[in-house]
Amino acid sequence: MGTINSAFSLISGALDADQSALSIVANNVANANTPGYTTETPNWQENSPVEINGVSYGDGVTETGATSRRDSVLEERLDQQQQLASASSVRLTALDNVQALFTPDSGSSSSTAGDIGSDITSFFNSFASLEANPTDNSLREEVLSSATTLAGDISNAAASLNSQSSGLGQEAAGVTSQVNSLTGAIAQLNQQIQSTSPDADAGTLEDQRDEDVSQLSQLIGINQISTGNNGLALTTTSGQLLVSEGSSFQLTSGSVDGATHFFVGNTDITSQLASGGGELGGYLTARNQDIPSALSSLDQLAYSISTNVNALNNGGTDLDGVSGTAASPLNIFSQPAAVAGSATSMSVVMTDPNQIAAAGLGQGTGDNSNAVAMANLANEPLLQPIATTSFSMTQNLSSATPLNGTTSGSVQIYDSLGKSYNATVTYTNEGANTWGYSISVPDTLTADTSVANQVSYSFGPGETVDPGTNLTITGSTGGGTATIVAPVVVTDEAVGSAGPPATGYVAALDAQLTAAGIIGVTVTNTGGVLTISGATATAGNVIADPVAANATGTLTFNGNGALISPAANLSGITFSGLSDGAAALNLDWGLYAANGAANITQAATPSAQSAQSQNGSAGVNNGETPTDFYSDFVSTLGATVSGVQAENTAQNASVTQLQTQNNALSSVNLNDEAAAMSTLQSSYQAASQVFTMLNTIMASALNLGEQTTVS
């Protein structure tokens, strides 16, 4: 039962609460300059209702302690924006360093990496000069000199990029100790908060924890999860636990394949951190994405220039009347085995300017047709081949095929230099629902006819003459001429092996020439080069079989014609010793489609090959000339820098705005939340108006500007 005293009590309680509030205000003033200190506001807790004469009245409020005016949602938003802003700041710095490599210094046309664009022009111009006087030694020296400058600038740029990449890895590793220090501190604060204030605001302890989380946000992308008893768990943005209750989990770094990787326990979280934000995310995005992208472009440029120039030089005649062969190539640049790493390893290997093949194949040394072709490379899209690594074909093998009968299917594939091959699979019915398969990649050799009355074919190491060879040789019989068709079946000779064999293809050719009464024609095999000299004419192709591995086996079908063995796609099918010097073809045969259905089946009714696919190409550099490709690369890099710059400006602006809001809400000042919100809203509205008008002005001005230009 309430009395009049209860009413007094109600009033005095309110006064007491006011007095407590005054104490808290005093505390705020005393801590006004403490970093991260959050204004505490009194908690006004409703008391039990008071009944007076049967009527229930509110019992006023009692001050129950201070709660910091922090707002976890706003602070988390601020932390997230800080993570993004830090990441883009660090990435921007790294990108500026990358861009500086390719941007000429003020007042100069040369950048840290030289001037690759001009180098390309100078190099191809040196061939244009050589056209006029293809035997001039100084012009030949100029070709090698400009090639050396170009290769040096590209390889230096690649080396600088690799160095920047290592540097970013080290910078990122340096961040881990700061991260560990902060997560350790947060875990300790968790313990203190949970033991002292499990059900209430922990005041300065929470301020310290918020401050540590804010600092951590600048270093690494994190998610915050409130846990029981006022605890806080932290994970990376991908969910890897960093802090749980009173425990923290150390971030460590180590080298994997020469690059710095990051771990929590044994889990490699490098790629997760790269996309997570914070300084660490910025470092890793620059290292794992931006620098590899720039390196890849340089690699493509180096690879395409090196392989195209080398191929042309090998296809011409040098000042000594020599043409390049697989065994003795006339390469100007070091021949890259693959696109990756081409920029770093780009160098000039030719030392004798006489080896520049200005003349065309079979032409005199004063000819300039090959120099013209090499100069024209400046204006042509350069080959950028992609080697085939997998192929498939869809085919029904007829169960009606006689025992040991064969059928076949083929797919056009490409080697690393863009040369195409017809990969053929020959299936032989071995009965009992089994078929033998044999995959071949016949290599058509290019004839070298640079020496009069002589034709040579260069075999790759280990290549053997293919039964499909249809070479014909015509020679004198003394009183007339006779023609032989070269033998298509070869016994045991590997023509590609060094030295004249006692038996095999050369011996078989000699025997046929003798039988036909042809005199004065000699056939030799020296160092893998088959040379036929003294013939009046030759026609047709010499076809070679590269060395094959895992190219034969057996397919087994069940009674319904479904493929049961092999149960998966075949890998490790390799063809090496290609005559153009390309890297070995490493192929996977896709026996099964993505949905698991077999591509090869056995059916009663024969069916032709109905589909084929492979993933290689003879492709080009986006159809661009070398200069355009390089300009495009530099422009793309500039656009990336500009985009990150815009992102960084916007994120920093967002952080500034949020800090303003957070200060109004949380720090010790006199602004109230409503005023802060009002400022935010009115600023947004005014900015929207400005933006709308700017858009209109831009559209009109650009349009008017164009019209003015046209008129």
Partner: protein, 116 residues
């Protein structure tokens, strides 16, 4: 010298855009309203511009494209921040009317009866 004076009188479009981004970052509503007025004046000038002035403004517009993109991103970030703040306000309003005091954050400051 004359050109420099002219520029002071009619600042480059690009400067205006950059200033708008800066003002929005620091939530300077008054400055933004001034800039809105400048834009309004610029629109009127544009209608009366002769060929030379149009060409000049066309050049300035082309040079400002990157800064306009930045301004657009700042505006977008501001809208996101405004959304966050509006949600917070709604959240607090909801707690004041219906919620129980939380261990962390805001607590109601008056009696549920409203008669104290």
């Amino acid at each position: 010298m004359q050109e420099s004076e002219e520029r002071q009188e009619h600042p480059e479009l690009r400067e205006l855009v950059v200033e708008a981004s800066r003002a929005l970052a620091r939530l300077d509503a008054e400055r933004l309203e001034e800039l809105a007025l400048s834009c309004q004046a610029l629109t009127q000038d544009l209608a009366r511009a002769d060929a030379v002035e149009r060409a000049l403004l066309g050049r300035q517009a082309r040079e400002s494209v990157g800064d306009i993109a930045i301004f657009a991103r700042v505006l977008e970030a501001t809208r996101a921040n405004l959304n966050v703040m509006n949600r917070l306000r709604d959240l607090r309003a909801g707690r004041l009317e219906y919620g129980e005091p939380q261990g962390r954050g805001w607590t109601r400051t008056e009696s549920g009866h409203g008669d104290n």
